[in-house]
């Protein structure tokens, strides 16, 4: 009988042990994250960020925004970036060999003039064709770099070569940033004295179905479409219950490509962004951490829990699937390039905790789930499935998923209170109940597809078309933890 005996017991208890460990980890993470967020909010209440707007002591920030075929919105996006509130910053838009008139629109709108200058090529990038600055004083902090097409990493690297700031903010050009995002993000860099802060991440929230005007968010709503709403819930779980905890224990491996602030010198010393992967954001942080560990220099990767960045998430299953496929492939690249860190005590928390976590949970969890399900199917087909156990396990896992989602909603209510109306909360609850049954399996499926595609050697992004900020097309956002089990 297949449902008895040593192997059966082993699989069952392994699966159970794995699941319990994951659940315990999540609960600890949620508790710690909640406390840290409350502390952070209490501290922030004593800081009036508006007062720092004119401080001469803040470091110079260079915002680097790669742009490819963004002609439709580039002028608006640039305007939104230029009007951020920070004492000393520059906006570097990198035109990555666009086939449309992205560059010309910028030149016309901001009266740009090609500059004569020498650019140190400190990190690898394809040929830079020209650097443009505005002739108008009002846009003196805008720089546009024109270069041959080389991909997002390449464009970011070109921006790094040209920019003059001490810190670099790598963002996606069509994200909407809060006005004081930069002011809030520099805090970790300036307040830690015994460790060098090399990167700070921020919270990304989904702006689907929210009212955006003039680059500002006027009204926040839970999206109507199930796909988008499920992602909102997923992001809430990740950013409120998980990332904060990882930053606190200094094990954060992932700083979103949509919003991250980095110490420029450390990035340059680590070699800049890698051209060899689609998950360049995670790979860079991992490489920077590895470098600092190898140098035995105390460092930290921190995190600001305030919601600072809004982006459009995929609203169609197909596009979501491609996005998750890409995230999986990017993650596998990062894990593979740095496999030396796996349980390697020479690499501190990064090697002993963060990397194994990503390996066993972020990467392996979809595989374990699928194998578990396959095993159950086999048992069922041979008539030896213990239906009682099967349904109990499902109930066990489902109730945990709903509990975790409720926890995320609760933390939001007790802290940032993004969703106030009964309708929004009702929608979130419905999504929380349906998500483990409908959304999660799709995510697992996309991750498995990602694994298969990776093993078959597929590279690249697939097609992502732009339709404007208020239309729902995906932006290349960064991998977030994909599993709740």
């Amino acid at each position: 009988m297949l449902n008895e005996g040593f192997w059966y017991d082993l699989f069952t208890y392994l699966f159970l042990g794995y699941t319990l460990f994951l659940m315990g980890g999540y609960l600890v993470s949620a508790l710690v994250s909640y406390r840290v967020i409350r502390q952070h909010m209490a501290e922030s209440s004593f800081v009036d960020y508006r007062n720092i707007l004119t401080s001469p002591l803040t470091p110079k920030i260079s915002i680097i925004a790669p742009a490819y075929n963004e002609a439709l919105n580039i002028v608006d996006n640039a305007k939104s970036l230029l009007s951020l509130e920070y004492p000393d910053f520059e906006v570097v838009i990198v035109n990555d060999g666009s086939k449309d008139d992205t560059l010309q629109r910028l030149i016309d709108a901001y009266r740009l003039e090609k500059q004569e200058m020498a650019v140190p090529l400190r990190v690898e990038c394809r040929e830079i064709l020209g650097v443009y600055k505005s002739t108008e004083r009002a846009f003196s902090h805008l720089t546009v770099v024109d270069k041959r097409n080389g991909g997002k990493s390449d464009a970011l690297n070109a921006g790094i070569n040209v920019c003059a700031g001490r810190l670099i903010a790598c963002i996606d050009v069509d994200c909407v940033l809060e006005r004081d995002a930069l002011l809030r993000m520099i805090k970790p860099f300036l307040e830690e004295t015994d460790r060098k802060v090399i990167a700070t991440g921020g919270v990304i929230r989904l702006a689907n179905d929210c009212v955006i005007e003039d680059g500002r968010l006027l009204q926040i709503r839970v999206p109507r479409s199930f796909v988008a709403a499920a992602q909102v819930l997923e992001y809430m779980r990740a950013f409120l219950l998980s990332r904060v905890y990882w930053a606190k224990v200094n094990g954060l491996l992932l700083v979103s490509g949509a919003l991250g602030l980095f110490d420029k010198e450390t990035v340059v010393e680590a070699g800049g962004y890698s051209h060899k992967t689609v998950g360049e954001d995670m790979e860079l942080v991992l490489r920077m951490r590895r470098m600092m560990e190898e140098r035995r220099q105390p460092y930290a990767v921190r995190y600001i829990p305030d919601p600072l960045c809004w982006t459009e998430g995929p609203s169609k299953w197909e596009i979501l699937g491609r996005q998750r496929n890409r995230w999986t492939r990017g993650m596998m690249d990062s894990l593979r390039f740095h496999r030396k860190l796996f349980f390697n005590p020479n690499y501190g928390t990064t090697g002993m905790v963060s990397y194994p976590h990503w390996f066993f949970y972020e990467w392996l969890a979809p595989i374990v789930e699928t194998l578990g399900l396959a095993y159950c199917v086999v048992l069922m087909l041979t008539g030896s499935l213990d239906y009682g156990l099967f349904w109990l396990l499902l109930l066990f896992v489902y109730s945990f998923a709903v509990f975790l989602s409720s926890l995320a909603i609760w933390v939001d209510q007790k802290t940032y209170l993004q969703y106030r109306s009964k309708r929004d909360l009702g929608r979130l609850l419905v999504v929380a109940l349906l998500e483990p049954l409908v959304f999660h399996p799709f995510i697992v499926y996309s991750a498995i597809r990602g694994n298969i595609d990776y093993l078959r050697g597929k590279k690249g992004w697939g097609s992502m078309t732009r339709q404007g900020l208020s239309k729902t097309q995906p932006t290349p956002a960064a991998p977030t933890p994909t599993t709740t089990t």
Partner: protein, 358 residues
């Protein structure tokens, strides 16, 4: 309890497993229901908002505003406030906050009557409670109120708070000392405290900006501190307040060994732009590295005579660090070195892209 143990002993592993899973599932479901109930309660409470305290606050604000306008005599106000406080002790902290908020809005001439009122209503006891609380944010609030209302009797408590490990509390305490004009305490601060991170310096500078010059702390003395963070802050304040008379003191700090201090001194020199600084810079040049070296080269290019600057820069056009080379080249270009000669210097370098305007 006994029956559970009996059941446990009589059933086998599989039933144990079932029971375990069932119990966990039930716990999770219960947890979910509790959380959702809590959320519902939060919503209700938010909608009703603390009606009592909002109404009380509105009343107190009205009374104080009328009194400040002169339509209510102090005696009448006093009576009304005593009534409020007697009816409910919780009114006291709210009253303290209202008076504090009013004080923040007004300038010096209106302050004394507010301070008298504050003491008359024994609200300084509230501040004492806050300063002695175990919660850091209550202590921070206490510092703010004490500083604003000049409650000098709490000076020693606040001085102790400047040694807290928590940055926010330190900032509030230092601000309060400055507001109360505790010059001697502020002189000692630079020796007692080990750290003053940049973030706190940013916050403090902003608070100092709104003060009059005689109210500022003795920052020139901090230049002599043994703690580099405080030296750094002193330099930055000198720069901000254009204390160019202190330039002579800053020169020796260039050899202090702390790169942040060196950077801050160079920043001050950049702001001042006095050719008399050239000898100091030339002395420092051989010891400068990294960002400081780059800034020193730029400063020399700006301050020295062209004929004297060129040989110095040409030395560095061959430096190992590409950024230093770049700086020297850009400076030479600014000074008018012709393009062909510049290209000659960069010809063998592959790590620079020389972009032209054509």
């Amino acid at each position: 309890m006994q029956s559970i143990l009996d059941w446990w002993n009589w059933t086998d592993g599989q039933d144990h497993l079932y029971a375990f899973l069932l119990v966990m599932a039930v716990l999770y479901v219960l947890g979910t229901v509790l959380l959702l109930g809590y959320i519902w309660l939060l919503m209700l409470r938010r909608n009703r908002r603390s009606a009592w305290s909002a109404a009380l606050r509105a009343r107190l604000e009205d009374d104080i505003a009328t009194w400040m306008a002169g339509d209510l005599s102090t005696w009448e106000l006093s009576n009304r406030l005593h009534v409020e406080v007697r009816t409910d002790e919780r009114a006291r902290p709210i009253l303290a906050d209202v008076i504090y908020a009013t004080s923040k809005l007004l300038r010096e001439e209106s302050q004394s009557q507010l301070r008298d009122l504050f003491r008359q209503m024994s609200l300084d006891q509230i501040v004492l409670q806050k300063l002695k609380s175990i919660k850091w944010h209550e202590q921070a609030y206490g510092c703010r109120v004490a500083g604003q209302l000049q409650l000098k009797e709490f000076l020693s408590l606040i001085r102790a708070r400047t040694r807290s490990w928590r940055g926010v509390l330190r900032v509030e305490a230092i601000t309060a000392l400055v507001a109360m004009g505790d010059q001697s305490g502020l002189e000692k601060i630079a020796e007692d405290n080990h750290h003053l991170p940049d973030w706190e310096q940013v916050l403090l500078l902003e608070r100092f900006k709104i003060l009059n010059s005689h109210e500022l702390p003795p920052y020139e003395n901090w230049l002599n501190s043994s703690r580099p963070d405080w030296v750094l802050f002193g330099i930055r304040l000198c720069r901000h307040y254009n204390r160019f008379d202190k330039i002579a003191d800053l020169g020796p700090l260039l050899r202090s060994g702390d790169s942040r201090v060196q950077t801050a001194v160079l920043g001050t020199f950049e702001a001042q732009g006095d050719p008399e600084l050239v000898p100091v810079l030339l002395d420092y040049l051989p010891y400068a590295t990294g960002g400081c070296l780059i800034r020193t080269l730029n400063l020399l290019a700006d301050l020295m005579l062209r004929s004297e600057a060129m040989p110095v820069l040409l030395d560095y056009a061959d430096h190992a660090d590409p950024l230093v080379r770049l700086t020297a080249l850009e400076a030479l270009r600014r000074l008018g070195l012709p393009a062909p000669e510049l290209h000659l210097l960069t010809k063998s370098r592959s790590d620079l892209a020389l972009l032209t305007a054509h």
